[in-house]
Symmetry: C2
Subunit: 352 residues, 2 copies
């Protein structure tokens, strides 16, 4: 019932970042976070036009620092002020495992349900109050970051000039809900999970490994495995790849934090603003929008993304080709980032 | 360590069938089944040209009786003698849960590893010794039944005039292996599984339900869920469909039996006959072959089936359209069987 230590959630693994308090955050599902902290990494001069980058399930700002942001990328810190905000439950921002001090009462299994809208409200307050940012040149993010991107464009249409949701949807699909439930069950079925009151993520090692192997089935594509793409990443066979990459990627993370994010992912839905009318919600978007699915994505397939894109007025579809499927987001395929950079770059160069 | 009762594996749920002993079956992986029984349902006059139908994971002859065989179908008992043989581990043929008498030493967790090739050897012996059948007009089956169909055509090319593997492959893919492992883990992670020495499948209810929900993610297609196809099947929402159909479908079955089939599924590979050379193995096939993938299949996608089809000399690809994906095999979509009947019917009408 009190916060625990996890050395993964430190600058050693995530580089430099700030912890910024936005104060009390009342939540859509009820309850609140008494003192909500957001972990934030910024790139570029604060006087540059601002870009917000949102994070995906299990990811943090660090993947953007390492892969997406740079003078050789569309997210160019010499031209823009790029703010990457880690989502609530990410393990860096306020999360079940680190809820202490003023947040002690919501540690671990007591953590409240958080929705995509809560993150976006928190981010808007952060940008306005802490950085003085009122209007964003671009909001972008992948997967759950795409959910936040859509939420921004629908909730705050006047504040978002351009939007680029990557490999994600505005309204989570039933299939995604079911997939996420199997991920959650892989963790909670582990006796070491103990109803969320484990003393260390290591207690839930077996469940986290099963959860990782489920990502192995859905996170990549059938072609990824068939073409043995992992050999190009330095692994001899698929079990070496799972044991050397996907399993450790997840087992260092906190189970309650992952579950908080998954509950949120399952319920991402901009149509909550319009009584369930998705077309009406997406019709509110005034941002120039580029919708960027990944062709081999098994759970955000392009056809699901197209269906939403056509409901956004000033929008265009750009399909990224990547045999890695959804986890193409990791940008390990050398052909991935040039496509992202081209699509984001052309969007940023479009006058609004 | 001794066989257990499971009322599901009776004629009440599977209609009439024979239990035929083929004697001792020595296995590819070593060990043997002392007295191998095969459950067999036949349709039509034994004097008609014979057709062999093989069964899929968790399935038995009964789905063929109910959906595939009839005078209004290509598998027409007024024209053919149709023999459906339940696979080893199916729960009707010799399986972990029913191994008793001469098979007592291989009950439950002591059951040996069985391969697709073992089933095919057993079936060939059954057909020859019990039915006097030397040559088959057609071998067909779906999923693991397709694995057996390919194995027949490669192992006994002179005995198979026509072959129609449906929604399956000759060499199991790595992706399928990984998917199957998550299914296995859903069962074995249940403390009630007790290393395979539970006293009833009800002890493993939670694990079997998780296993069922994984089928919900991969067994159907993303479009199945998006279009809420289950409402046409009489279910109000996706959880009602899972609770009313997919979960009970699996929870009545035996965990060890399912695991025996999955181990076999994971390792289906005709290239075992040719030192790993798949093209050489498929090159042995002389049967006229129609390869029938289902367009929305998430784990035997058409492109995996095409790759093999092109290695079979006298072959043709026929893709079935079905939003149900892999579990289109259940033939609940009224547009499914007409396609299967057309493809099998045209194959049967092709002179060889």
């Amino acid at each position: 019932m009190s916060a625990i230590q996890n050395p993964f959630y430190t600058p050693e693994f995530h580089g430099e970042y700030e912890q910024i308090s936005i104060g009390r955050l009342d939540l859509e599902e009820g309850g609140s976070i008494p003192d909500c902290h957001l972990a934030v990494a910024t790139f570029g001069d604060p006087g540059n036009p601002p870009i917000l980058v949102t994070t995906w399930y299990s990811g943090t700002h660090q993947i953007f620092r390492e892969q997406y942001v740079g003078e050789d990328h569309a997210l160019d810190p010499s031209r823009y002020f790029i703010v990457v905000v880690d989502q609530i439950g990410s393990g860096l921002s306020t999360s079940p495992h680190n809820a202490s001090g003023a947040n002690e009462a919501i540690a671990m299994s007591a953590f409240p349900k958080v929705r995509i809208g809560d993150d976006v409200v928190a981010q808007e307050r952060l940008l306005r109050e802490h950085f003085g940012i009122e209007t964003l040149e671009l909001v972008t993010g992948g997967s759950m970051g795409a959910q936040q991107t859509y939420e921004w464009a629908v909730r705050f249409p006047d504040k978002v000039r351009r939007a680029a949701p990557i490999a994600g949807t505005a309204q989570n699909t039933d299939h995604d809900f079911l997939y996420t439930r199997t991920l959650m069950e892989a963790i909670t079925a582990d006796p070491g999970f103990a109803g969320g009151e484990y003393s260390s993520n290591a207690d839930v090692q077996a469940g986290l490994e099963r959860h990782a192997r489920l990502w192995g089935v859905m996170g990549f594509s059938t072609e990824f495995w068939k073409q043995k793409v992992y050999t190009a990443l330095g692994f001899d066979d698929m079990d070496a790849f799972l044991a050397g990459f996907l399993q450790p990627y997840f087992t260092v993370r906190d189970p309650n934090d992952l579950l908080t994010m998954m509950w949120k992912w399952q319920r991402g839905d901009v149509a909550r603003h319009t009584g369930g009318d998705l077309a009406a919600a997406l019709g509110r978007i005034t941002a120039k929008t580029v919708v960027i699915p990944i062709d081999e994505d098994m759970f955000f397939p392009p056809r699901d993304c197209v269906a939403e894109q056509t409901m956004v007025k000033e929008s265009e579809l750009r399909v990224v080709e990547d045999v890695l499927g959804h986890l193409g987001l990791f940008a390990v395929n050398p052909e991935y980032m040039p496509q992202i950079d081209r699509h984001l770059g052309e969007l940023l160069d479009t006058p609004v």
